[in-house]
């Protein structure tokens, strides 16, 4: 096809390649989770600044001893991030094996080798561990609340306790969201859905973020309360 060239009265807005460039390579779910993460980060940044302003604005800020169990929770959550990575490593290996199997016989729905199957099994195993740890964490938080309540510290008792409940509750909600995400991913993995490990990757980004978020919140709480 002959490409006729023209001259313009207005200089072109940009140097334009003669052939169209390749399309976007981004994965929406990955982009999406990063966007979501930034929004959540913003929310908690707003809450933190509110906390700082509030603490400065009144002389009624009473510090209280944090329930020990919070530190155990933190350990649990960090561990869960690690186990999640273990799961992911196995699934990535499994997928490469899967691809290899496909390249030899395109009809393959399962990688032939036994190792691959083992990989998949242990991947699921670590994933379940992660889920359980996540649930442990939530229970731990509830226990922490009971501890505080037994000390007579409730939502409206003092500004510090108000912020403690608000921050932990909102973080807990986001973590439950992460648990649901992991359940969805593991469901897809069980059923060998197409590129299920992408959903696992997406869920993992979110999970690690919620994990980091908790560490950050714990520091804020520990410093301020």
């Amino acid at each position: 096809m002959s490409v006729t060239t023209y001259t313009r009265t207005e200089p072109a807005l940009r140097p334009r390649p003669a052939t169209p460039i390749a399309a976007t390579k981004g994965i929406p779910s990955q982009t999406g989770v990063w966007v979501a993460v930034s929004a959540i980060a913003m929310s908690f940044a707003a809450l933190t600044s509110a906390l700082v302003v509030r603490q400065g604005s009144g002389a009624d800020w009473q510090r209280f001893a944090l329930p020990r169990i919070l530190y155990l929770d933190t350990a649990i959550l960090i561990a869960s991030s690690y186990t999640l990575e273990l799961a992911r490593k196995r699934f990535t290996a499994y997928v490469t094996a899967f691809r290899a199997a496909r390249s030899t016989q395109p009809a393959a729905t399962e990688p032939a080798s036994v190792e691959a199957a083992a990989l998949r099994a242990s991947g699921l195993y670590w994933l379940n561990i992660t889920l359980t740890l996540g649930l442990f964490f939530v229970t731990g938080q509830v226990l922490a609340w009971q501890r505080l309540a037994s000390q007579g510290l409730f939502l409206a008792t003092s500004p510090s306790s108000s912020f403690f409940y608000v921050l932990t509750a909102l973080h807990g909600l986001h973590l439950i969201g992460g648990v649901l995400g992991l359940i969805y991913a593991s469901y897809r993995l069980r059923h060998n859905a197409r590129n299920a490990q992408t959903s696992l990757g997406t869920a993992a980004v979110y999970w690690h973020f919620v994990d980091l978020l908790w560490v950050y919140l714990l520091m804020v709480i520990a410093i301020r309360m």
Partner: protein
């Protein structure tokens, strides 16, 4: 249609500017020491932005007149966009520089400079929907404020405790801010419930009154007379009716008034 649009734009522009130029509705007289600076600042801004307003609307009108339904060869802006961008940035930039430098000076003179050390102290209590004013009385000391003692029904608007607090016994509480002319005044603004505002157009002063914090405000009235103090911060169903009067007296008149108040 282009010509109609252009003419309409020009008419709208001229009609909009007319009341400003003729001061058909304008600021009330200025009665505070810092007021003239504010007015001057406003006039400067009015001239600068007025010129911008008229020229840009006229240019828009002119272009619409000239190129509405125009069929001929398309022309581009001579010299491309760069000079236009530069022009815009420089023009507005200059205006901004001048405004913010002068403006911040005026602002500083009102809010950042310290009040005169021997200014007359008056305590202001704002509530839904009225202002009350407190003078220290003969002993020159304000009684302390106890929120639990506040009771409008018995006229205790400030929550004074004359039973235990001797300083509170001679405090003078009135509904009109009465001050001597040409004397530095230092108000301490309290609010007992909502966010209110202390606005006297003639003083060119507006300051929110926030519950939980004490906000100082200082000014000097330069003219005797009576003006309205109004609330400009939405504070409830009676917001529009929340007001008090500012009574500026000559020094001797004020002294008599004060004697008479502490008399009974």
């Amino acid at each position: 249609m282009g010509k109609f649009f252009a003419i309409l734009l020009i008419i709208i522009t001229l009609v909009s500017v007319y009341p400003i130029v003729t001061h058909m509705w304008w600021m009330p007289e200025v009665v505070s020491a810092h007021g003239p600076a504010v007015d001057h600042q406003l006039d400067e801004t009015m001239i600068g932005s007025g010129v911008l307003f008229i020229t840009s609307q006229f240019v828009l009108a002119g272009f619409i007149w000239a190129f509405g339904n125009h069929k001929g060869k398309i022309k581009n802006w001579p010299g491309g966009h760069k000079p236009v961008v530069a022009f815009g940035i420089i023009l507005v930039g200059l205006e901004i520089l001048s405004l913010s430098f002068v403006g911040s000076k005026v602002w500083a003179s009102m809010y950042i400079t310290k009040p005169d050390p021997n200014a007359l102290h008056v305590d202001v209590q704002a509530e839904q929907f009225a202002f009350f004013f407190r003078y220290a009385g003969p002993d020159g000391v304000f009684g302390s404020i106890h929120p639990d003692k506040i009771n409008d029904g018995s006229g205790n608007y400030f929550g004074l405790d004359p039973e235990n607090d001797v300083a509170a016994r001679d405090d003078i509480v009135v509904g009109t801010l009465t001050i001597p002319v040409d004397t530095p005044i230092l108000l301490t603004l309290h609010s007992k419930d909502m966010i209110h505002n202390f606005y006297v157009p003639e003083l060119r002063i507006q300051q929110d009154i926030v519950p939980g914090i004490e906000i100082p405000l200082h000014f000097t009235a330069t003219k005797t007379g009576k003006w309205e103090i109004v609330c400009t911060q939405l504070c409830g169903l009676g917001h529009y009716s929340m007001k008090a009067y500012l009574q500026v007296m000559s020094k001797p008149e004020y002294d008599d008034w004060l004697k008479q108040q502490s008399g009974d």
